[in-house]
């Protein structure tokens, strides 16, 4: 017998991320074990059975590092430890072992582009112009270099340069002014970041979601986004990763549709990247009751290397970004999904899935059904599996980062502390509040959204066709019906969705599949055999079918 692998390292399984169902969560607001009002790794560990039961296969953790929390942890003050509120490195190791024991992969955040201005590196860098760390950041005596480069947080920042009174110079920041950009023209920075990665990979982390990828390098007279030198940095890190940790994964946060393909390289940069345009157009299609935006975006999606995968999602911890859509599309989305101006932030909408869909169970199911059958690895944002609400009055994007609603009891079962001490207040409105929407009550109801999501994920995982198959759109005359065929070798699944609020009849041209027997995948019901004529289906409002096509 060969010796068993260390507990914290799952059995090697190349391309595991292509079949993953990812669950994104914030340690801070998931489960609090010590009653201090802040979630922690011990709390998260105690909820791993819940996540296993839900059926997800990978956890993506929001930043867990020491941080002044001026950007909810994305402003890192120390890359080599855990924020004390979340526990210790040992707590993290225990969590990682427990997750791996349940065959759950764990992906953490990696902020390559910038640090907190409270990071020791920046403190040293600004301490004097001669400090050895000075060149770890991007400095200038004037604020007119790289003029014309867009400002990302336009609501808050007026410039990409901020004045440092200590060293009397400007420093470059693409995000908040308290997040100075690292200088990747300095090889020492690149090497140090590989050290950071090695540290966490050595502990057993399965991959990184890499934040703000396009902005690593600056050059005059460019957009300073996605420059060739930025790709060189990524390739360096990927080469190191493959050499030392061959089955780990890098997931890129890069949302410019025209550039995102480039971050896959020739399979030698990122393993995964988010498909932001697909997310926006799923919302658009359902509100328009028209498949057009979805079909367009999938058909325009470039091919990616065989070893790569899209990360697809409905919502996440940030605003529903409308940065990369046209003005017409943005205006439509704002009008339809953000009537209340408070719900708007930056170029997007700070709402969770359920409130965006007016709590309409049918539309929530439809959207999740599409998510689980589209090409890519689906990502579920914590709480969306039970239809949690949000609080748009909390400032920034905190309204979608409120405590997980475990029960209808004290603090929604999240923490035993006094409500006033919670890291974020729990949602308590009558529609989405924890008394109405929580895990405990939904577990008890066979037909709850939670149990429906469990079945959905189970059906998704029952066939590799969803994660690895090709996608061919059928284009029936009825534009309110979205239909596509997923194919992997001899396995075929037909997915049909009614995007509208009224019942629809549709005729599908399935001549090429004549003789196949459709078996509805949730109830295993047999449907009439496909013949030479158009295949007629009727779908109730927002209903959908997944048919496994069998030949007997």
């Amino acid at each position: 017998m060969s010796s068993p692998l260390p507990l914290s390292v799952p059995a090697p399984q190349p391309l595991w991320y292509k079949d993953a169902v990812i669950y994104q969560l914030h340690v801070k607001t998931f489960a609090d074990s010590n009653g201090d009002g802040i979630g922690d790794f011990k709390g998260l560990s105690s909820k791993l059975d819940y996540l296993t039961d839900l059926g997800v296969s990978c956890l993506w953790l929001l930043p867990m590092y020491p941080s002044p929390f001026r950007d909810d942890g994305y402003d890192i003050a120390d890359y080599y430890s855990i924020h004390p509120s979340y526990g210790t490195l040992d707590d993290f190791r225990e969590f990682l072992d427990a997750a791996h024991a349940r065959r759950l992969r764990v992906v953490t955040e990696l902020m390559l582009n910038h640090t907190s201005d409270q990071h020791a590196w920046f403190k040293e860098a600004r301490s004097s112009r001669d400090n050895p760390r000075r060149d770890w950041y991007v400095w200038s005596d004037t604020d007119d270099r790289y003029s014309g480069v867009r400002i990302i947080f336009v609501d808050i920042e007026r410039s990409n340069w901020a004045w440092d009174p200590e060293s009397k110079a400007y420093y470059w920041h693409r995000f908040f002014s308290h997040q100075p950009d690292l200088n990747y023209d300095n090889p020492a920075v690149r090497d140090e970041m590989w050290n950071v990665m090695k540290f966490w990979l050595g502990l057993g982390v399965d991959g990184f979601r890499v934040d703000a990828v396009p902005y690593l390098i600056e050059r005059e007279n460019t957009t300073c986004e996605g420059l060739p030198e930025t790709h060189d940095v990524i390739k360096f890190l990927r080469t190191q990763l493959d050499a030392h940790f061959p089955d780990r994964m890098l997931l890129a946060e890069a949302n410019q549709p025209e550039l995102v393909r480039s971050y896959f390289g020739d399979g030698d940069e990122f393993h995964m990247a988010f498909h932001f345009p697909l997310m926006t157009r799923m919302f658009m299609a359902v509100r328009l009751e028209d498949r057009k935006p979805l079909v367009e975006v999938i058909e325009r999606t470039p091919e990616i290397p065989e070893t790569c995968q899209w990360g697809i999602f409905l919502r996440n911890h940030d605003e529903l970004t409308l940065e990369m859509v046209t003005d017409v599309e943005r205006a439509y989305m704002i009008d339809e999904y953000a009537h209340d101006p408070v719900a708007r932030i930056y170029l997007g909408i700070r709402r969770r899935l359920a409130p965006l869909l007016d709590g309409d169970r049918r539309r929530i199911e439809l959207m999740n059904g599409m998510l689980m059958s589209m090409p890519g690895s689906p990502i579920i944002y914590y709480g969306d599996e039970i239809g949690m609400g949000d609080n748009i009055y909390l400032g920034d994007r905190n309204g979608v980062r409120t405590p997980m609603q475990w029960s209808g009891g004290w603090n929604a079962g999240f923490s035993t502390t006094d409500p006033e001490r919670l890291a974020q207040p729990v949602i308590s409105n009558p529609l989405f509040g924890y008394q109405a929407v929580n895990v405990e009550s939904q577990k008890r109801s066979e037909h709850s959204l939670l149990n429906w999501m469990r079945r959905l994920i189970a059906v998704r995982k029952s066939s590799p066709v969803f994660s690895r198959g090709s996608t061919t759109f059928l284009k029936p005359a009825n534009h309110r019906v979205l239909a596509y065929l997923r194919t992997l070798d001899k396995e075929q699944v037909l997915c049909v969705y009614n995007l509208s609020s009224s019942a629809q009849a549709v005729e599908l041209d399935l001549q090429s599949l004549a003789g196949a027997l459709p078996i509805e995948m949730f109830g295993r019901s047999l449907f009439p055999r496909i013949g030479e004529l158009s295949y007629m289906l009727t779908l109730g409002p927002y209903a959908f079918f997944w048919f496994k096509l069998r030949r007997f």
Binding site: D290, P293, T326, A477, N478, H479, A505
Partner: protein
């Protein structure tokens, strides 16, 4: 139901797929291969630029073209439509080309388009002329928007054209319709219009579709129905007047238009008899400011034809015209062509007396209408000779004066109308 005979199964099939729409644009066609691609392109650009969020459909109702018009509509490529536009329709843009059944003519095409509009519950409908290449996305939008956004029921186009152009409209149909209906509509014969679903439903309920009016005079009838019904009407500047070359000979065309005008006035008598004076219609989009050239005119040839034909028509005109009018016309015809001045009051009296004769049925109605043609040529020739080199404003004022004359003499028409046997 009328719809049963208008809708083919194929069209019904298409409409089921289209579902409810916000904007429906209808294009009746018959051998329009030369222009239809431009029209379809303009429609799609209008959808993309001005109605990107709306549910839209283009319906081409074809009368049996043998030049491939329907295929050109169906196969309009993406290059012809969306990718050329700056904007982009958020929704699927449906495009249907379907033959209509029954008697050939625009009436059946329009009936099919209106039936489709009713079934799809179109909020706003625009009907376009497939015979022109000058239609613009802006013009289409200006026909749709007043219905969609301002709750108008009927939108008539206003063309930027020289006042000496289109004398059948300026000398006869426009002032007659204005005086009768009491609304200052500039283009009562326009083949393009916008309308609401309420107006569509009203039109479909009328018994006009299988009649001669439905076959050849549908444009004017639509205008009359809008003005005479309780509909909110407006006008909108669309584009320079399209240069069309009618395939119908003048005599036949004149007969069709005047017959339609008289038939409409007969149908709507209960409405217009109670109207005095005239009101302007709101102009929702100003006219394009492009300049237009005066048409080349030859009034002398027309007045000479008038003088010649009047001698031959005496026996036909006697039962139609009053003695005073006929005498005045006879004296006029005796003059040399270049000295003929067919004044407004005499022209208005002529038209009204023809209308009364039509109503009384003093002879076969088509003969009455045909007999008006040489008099129309005389009046037109006289007007053109008098104003051919006049500034536009002066011609406009002369036309306005003519319209006022029609209004001034309307009481005489009403007085005799009441006396006429029905």
């Amino acid at each position: 139901m009328a719809q049963d005979s208008v809708l083919s199964d194929e069209l019904l099939h298409h409409l089921m797929a289209v579902g409810h729409v916000d904007v429906l644009v209808g294009v009746p066609t018959l051998n329009n291969a030369g222009t239809i691609r431009l029209v379809v392109k303009a429609v799609h650009q209008a959808f993309a630029r001005y109605f990107p969020r709306d549910r839209t459909v283009l319906i081409n109702s074809d009368g049996g073209s043998n030049d491939g018009t329907p295929n050109l509509v169906r196969n309009a490529s993406a290059d012809d439509t969306e990718t050329l536009t700056v904007s982009h329709s958020l929704r699927t843009v449906h495009r249907i080309s379907t033959p209509y059944h029954g008697v050939p003519g625009k009436g059946n095409a329009l009936r099919q388009i209106m039936t489709a509009a009713e079934l799809t519950q179109a909020r706003a409908v625009a009907v376009l002329n497939a015979d022109v290449s000058s239609i613009t996305p802006e013009g289409i939008a200006s026909l749709v928007r007043p219905v969609r956004d301002q709750q108008y029921d009927y939108v008539a186009p206003v063309y930027r054209r020289h006042p000496l152009e289109g004398p059948l409209v300026t000398q006869l149909i426009r002032p007659l319709m204005r005086a009768a209906y009491g609304w200052q509509i500039r283009e009562p014969l326009a083949p393009e219009f916008g309308c609401s679903n309420r107006f569509v439903t009203h039109c479909l309920e009328q018994d006009v579709w299988d009649s001669e009016l439905g076959r050849v005079g549908i444009d004017l009838w639509v205008t009359g129905e809008a003005l005479a019904g309780s509909f909110r009407c407006c006008q909108t500047g669309v584009s320079p007047h399209p240069a069309t070359s009618s395939r119908t000979p003048f005599g036949e065309l004149f007969g069709q238009i005047v017959s339609t005008a008289f038939a409409c006035l007969e149908r709507h008598a209960t409405y217009w008899i109670g109207r005095n004076g005239s009101e302007s219609l709101p102009l929702t989009t100003p006219l394009p400011s492009s300049s237009v050239e005066a048409p080349a005119t030859d009034g002398s040839r027309l007045t000479e034809a008038f003088a010649r034909d009047l001698q031959n028509l005496q026996s036909v005109l006697e039962p139609i015209l009053s003695q005073d009018t006929l005498t005045s016309l006879t004296r006029l015809a005796e003059k040399q062509g270049s000295h003929i001045r067919y004044h407004d009051d005499l022209w208005v009296a002529t038209v009204y007396e023809f209308l009364l004769a039509y109503q009384r049925g003093v002879m076969r109605r088509e003969h009455i209408v045909q007999a008006l043609a040489p008099l129309y040529l005389g009046r037109t020739g006289s007007f053109l000779r008098q104003y051919s080199s006049a500034p536009e404003a002066e011609v406009d004022e002369a036309l306005e004066s003519l319209s006022r004359e029609f209004e001034r003499l309307k009481p005489d028409l009403i007085q005799h109308w009441h006396r006429s046997p029905r």
